[in-house]
Symmetry: C2
Subunit: 333 residues, 2 copies
């Protein structure tokens, strides 16, 4: 039997297979590709293969665009959007168009080609999180931009074209549709109830217990009741906070450790799956801080989107979230 | 350079790579999987491997659930939704849930394991289109349902679990989010302009010419200016019509031939890609026939969704639609 569940923020329905849920073993295992270190442009000594660095964390005495870095931020060599120029918005008949202006940066998370988040030290995790924040704050100063999106693609089937651990930051001249929809949903809920919908979601998850994967003092990770994908999990700060960039230094340390643990659980439970994560945070100019609550959504790549999903926006979830959470909780890390 | 384009119905933005667009050869070619005819449950003589048929087109003298059929409609053996029971909608805290009630049928499009739409006779195409319509009309009589979604997954990477040519029909107890959004967008446009937005899109495409793939008396196929995916194409009836089921018999013949041609062009141009198509048509109870215009969206599976797309709802389109249309127009079929 299956169950239809409606997301309280987005109004999106999902079809959850509550009976005969698939276990981690039921998903096809991915062949991790050969590690192409020999030609990797993100490895040390190859700093000239990327555009000059924007920022970095370095050992004392090392110089920009040379080895000795711990975390490195560079412009994307093949940017989705161009950094220079004006937006130049206009209409062509029915269509609105604008120049593809934006920023597209890459955070190279480690000099070590063979490491990724689950293998990082707590300090390395902190440096990445800290760079996410400082780059976001810097990009927000550009008057052309309205939203900064931070995301990571791990594994070829999740869209990663390079295997060396990296994440991406894109600054956009408009608020993306999905963020707008979640802002509007959250605003509506706040107007109706006088409370943040995400704070209420956390409260309900804590009461229900069964979908919680792990938690620490500052953060909670759970398999949302209305997940779109099997083993999708969300990380949220327990205390209301609208923007990712508002985190204290202590929170950044805490998030680094926490994110590492969640990804270790994913890796152990699902045989090192490809995955995407992205951070949903308030837009640069946020007139409504009391109603939005930043969070990270982590989506392991276990299923393919098909005609039904593309046509409807419904998602079929073959593993019930409470079961996914149990598998992730019980994973040996 | 890239361009940001906004969909006039959905308000969705896409990032189109207008310079350095990828050509068909630039996309990774798929290995079509081995044809597993030996265990195929959709081949003739194996009619007992599916649930009893709901409908079929048959040669004279043949009997239900035995060979002699041309097109066969059966319930899905592993349905996403269950046919029996009441919807039983209720709230659990923040969440709305209902039983997963709906219909999930499979149209087996041919008895021949080695054929698919591009190889079909015009009559075979007609029979499939006709079954889409007759099954939709029949399912619409069930008072529990509000929407009938017809779609096809071709190839494993587009989500097809069986290779024998088939499409699927799902009847849903609610209008899916994407359909609702396009209905609302179309309604808004109609209120503002007194015209159907899709009729206006067709008009603009006809004037611009460059994105048209092919057309006949009744239908047009074009690569939409705001496609989400490279080589995505839409088929629309030239005359305003809100529901797919309103087609005349002549139109069904015409659409069958036309859809075959479009899929032949896709196959020739893109080396037999996996693809999805779905039909967007008006909901069962449609109070607004003048503003909606049914259409088919065809999405070849050439790229992977990644963190940016999941997080934003923005899509990065590496082949400009006008170029995709030219490649498809020039494909040798």
């Amino acid at each position: 039997m299956s169950e239809l569940r409606k997301d309280p923020v987005l109004g999106r329905w999902v079809i959850v297979q509550t009976d005969d849920s698939l276990s981690p073993q039921d998903y096809e295992k991915e062949n991790r590709v050969f590690r192409q270190q020999a030609i990797c442009p993100f490895c040390p000594e190859r700093e000239d293969r990327t555009p000059p660095e924007i920022d970095s964390v370095r050992y004392d005495g090392s110089h920009a665009n040379s080895p000795g870095w711990i975390t490195r931020v560079v412009p994307n060599r093949f940017p989705a959007l161009e950094a220079e120029g004006d937006i130049d918005r206009k209409g062509i008949g029915l269509y609105d168009i604008s120049k593809g202006v934006g920023a597209h940066e890459v955070v190279v998370e480690t000099p070590d080609h063979d490491k990724d988040f689950p293998d990082f030290s707590d300090k390395e995790m902190y440096e990445v999180i800290n760079k996410y924040c400082s780059r976001s704050i810097d990009l927000a100063r550009d008057k052309r931009f309205r939203y900064v999106m931070i995301f990571k693609n791990y594994g070829a089937s999740a869209g990663a074209s390079l295997e060396h651990a990296h994440s991406q930051i894109i600054a956009l001249p408009m608020i993306p549709k999905y963020v707008l929809q979640s802002l509007e949903g959250a605003k509506q809920y706040y107007q109706d109830n006088g409370r943040c919908v995400y704070c209420d979601i956390i409260k309900q998850e804590v009461e229900d217990k069964e979908r919680i994967v792990t938690e620490n003092n500052d953060f909670i990770c759970f398999a949302s009741y209305t997940s779109r994908f099997p083993f999708e999990t969300w990380i949220m700060p327990k205390k209301h906070q609208s923007s990712f960039c508002q985190m204290s230094d202590g929170n950044k340390h805490s998030l680094g450790k926490f994110l590492k643990e969640v990804l270790q659980r994913n890796k152990a439970c699902l045989s090192d799956p490809s995955y995407n994560f992205f951070i949903h945070t308030a837009p640069i100019t946020n007139s409504f801080p009391e109603g939005y609550h930043w969070h990270i959504e982590i989506i392991p790549k276990l299923t393919n989107m098909a005609g039904f999903e593309w046509g409807t926006g419904f998602y079929i979830v073959p593993t019930a979230p409470c079961l996914a959470a149990r598998y992730l909780r019980e994973a040996k890390i």
